[in-house]
Subunit: 409 residues, 2 copies
């Protein structure tokens, strides 16, 4: 009998090696409905709660759960200790006999939304994106509003329609009105779009009436995911003045099933772009110990064809600044709060994170191998993937977020 | 020994008589932390779960709970049947011996937020309010945006900062910038305001990808409460273009502790105002069986002094239209979703539901017995109360929502 290779013997450079270890929640066909915390290693998922029990770990109670919520709430010391334990379980040869039976092939499990989304906030933090959108939607005014470089602009979205990667997205219906139309018409959106974003997942709550300073970012935020903020541009354009986006966004927001802990991205920290205007002290990150930027390289595909490569490092506002902004008025945080970075668009046309920008609101269709695209057609599948530089030349893979458009009900 | 009067012998015309029966969640000092569903009758709270058990009711499982969530999720038939049972418990003399020991004086209990807020949406449905705000904030443009009479404008707020009546509100800090200032400044809001609103509580969920037609409003919405959408006008004015209100609102939203079931308000149904423009079919309520308006008379007091009496019957858009709008794009509902009507302002100056309007953005201070007011000062207490016409000339009292401003942390 040939020696069987272990799922723990990963190819060199595997982006889901022991330097990564993202968390998710999975179930297997033989335990229908039985959700468990899983940790991705290579192309396998480790049943983390079962491993903790098998190895007599003190973290069994945090990990043997149907959701990430207890781990998220446990705080930074626990996050570090659990990660250290997991690293040992998948790297120390003595643990192999215990751990290997608890590995499930990725393609044999179902991945679930790994936390209950408490509040969902979406920001607007890429200068390139905001400038493009301003030029498209407000051609006669300044591209950026006067507040844009003074604070990270954000708004609340719908937490109840955040779905896990792989969930179909029903094309939304709503009102739209072209400037030349005498009255709005109703029907399925004809400008269904994506927004390539990074989502941040809050672990540790804060008290109402207090704020979270820049330096406490890592005490509250556990990790990040990829996020597609599906957007119906025609519905949005008609509704959004004066109170902001609502139905143009609220029908669905997709997130990747894997949450990458911030600790896995320490080597990807990078200085944010130079700021053009002085910042108020609560947002001024010039003296922070840790660089606020994160060097994530995102890829956007439509039906498997690459359409954009947005660079997250180019974001004007950082996730720490967004957290400081969100709480500076005393708004509290809850475990499971999710906030999106805003569409990631780089300076180059091929780095734009939305079809609105890539096609300049439909004027310049994309020429894909399966046909021209302005906005999304029924049946289209959009997938975001990303990686970041890891330690010692490795890559840290982020989970993908994918979704397929199905026709209006 | 004189015969003791029963708490169930209510004065004629008591607005919390058996025709009302609002639901809440309470605890008593002798059971610290033990939350129970309560039903208000007169100045007492009936321990509804204990009553259901004592009387062998089949609804004990819905009522013997620490929150209203199971009852909310149970649906319209259960809501009607439970209400029928409760009416019998507090009116049929044969039940008195069982029921009376389960009544707690209102001033001896603590009332809690009775449901977990899932998503919170705030609308903008009073034509008088929207017109006033438009004139104040956009004096050079049309008061109403072009979309206003075509759809009920709304946006998502922060669910995690919804607090129950009686909770202190910490004055928020944030950026503000007067048009003449060269750059924004940071500090406690100097234009802290209220918005007198009615909140609607969703019971029965809906599926993502489907919409809820006007006619199904009563299948999903359980009841209503009073809601104060605290607003920092200076923070809001600087931040809200282009993505809408965020920190100017997200620091706190107060709701009354009592949820009045829609069934208690059947006699208060009233036709909405005539609409100036034709409505798209999904919003056209001309043929609906039930009138969309509700005749609630709200009073707003500051430190006990009456400052406004906003008439809810004057709202241009109804709660059923708001639910239809919120879901027409396929956004799902969850048990515990809360949506606010938007500030209730009538046609008359003394009917305006915000200090922004009552003082015309500070130009015309209110002359209260304890001093002049433009916006709220630290220590001010704002209380909203309301009543609606009930059957046979009765009044249906709504629970109050009150909150006191405490200084910035």
């Amino acid at each position: 009998m040939p020696e069987q290779s272990s799922p723990l013997d990963l190819a060199e450079g595997d982006p889901f090696g022991p330097h990564n270890l993202p968390y998710g929640v999975f179930s297997t066909p033989d335990h229908t409905g039985h959700r468990r915390v899983g940790v991705r290693i290579g192309d396998h998922v480790l049943d983390a709660g079962a491993a903790a029990r098998a190895l007599g770990s003190p973290y069994a109670q945090l990990l043997a759960q149907p959701s990430l919520m207890p781990l998220l709430a446990a705080g930074r010391t626990a996050w570090r200790d659990v990660r250290r334990a997991l690293t040992a379980w998948v790297t120390v040869p003595a643990h192999r006999a215990d751990v290997e039976p608890l590995l499930h092939p990725l393609d044999a499990v179902t991945l679930h939304l790994p936390y209950e989304v408490a509040d969902y906030v979406d920001f607007y933090a890429s200068e390139h994106h905001a400038t493009n959108v301003g030029r498209i939607f407000r051609p006669d005014g300044d591209a950026l509003t006067p507040n844009w470089k003074h604070l990270p602009i954000g708004y609340h979205g719908r937490a109840g329609t955040v779905v896990v990667s792989g969930t179909d997205v029903v094309r939304p219906s709503g009102q739209r009105k072209a400037p030349s139309d005498p009255a709005p018409v109703f029907g399925p959106s004809v400008k269904l779009d994506i927004e390539a974003e990074v989502g941040f997942v809050v672990g540790v709550p804060s008290e109402q009436g207090t704020s979270v300073p820049l330096a406490d970012f890592r005490e509250h935020v556990f990790g990040l995911c990829l996020l597609n903020d599906w957007s119906a541009r025609d519905i949005q354009a008609w509704e959004y003045v004066p109170l902001g986006p609502f139905l143009g966004k609220s029908f669905a927001t997709s997130v990747s099933a894997w949450v990458t802990p911030l600790e896995a991205l320490d080597a990807a920290r990078t200085p944010p772009p130079a700021r053009d205007l002085p910042l108020l002290p609560y947002l001024d990150d010039a003296g922070e110990e840790e660089h606020g930027g994160i060097d994530l390289r995102i890829s956007v595909t439509v039906n498997g064809h690459l359409v954009s490569e947005p660079p997250f490092a180019s974001m004007y506002w950082t996730a720490a600044q967004q957290l400081a902004q969100m709480t500076v008025n005393g708004a509290s945080l809850r475990t499971g709060d999710l906030y999106g970075s805003g569409t990631v668009s780089g300076a180059e046309p091929a780095q734009r994170g939305s079809l609105l920008e890539l096609t300049w609101n439909g004027r310049d269709p994309l020429d894909l191998p399966d046909g021209k695209r302005t906005f999304l057609e029924d049946g289209d599948t959009v997938t975001l993937t990303a990686w970041a530089p890891g330690p010692h030349g490795t890559r840290v893979g982020l989970g993908e977020v994918t979704g397929r458009i199905v026709p209006s009900a």
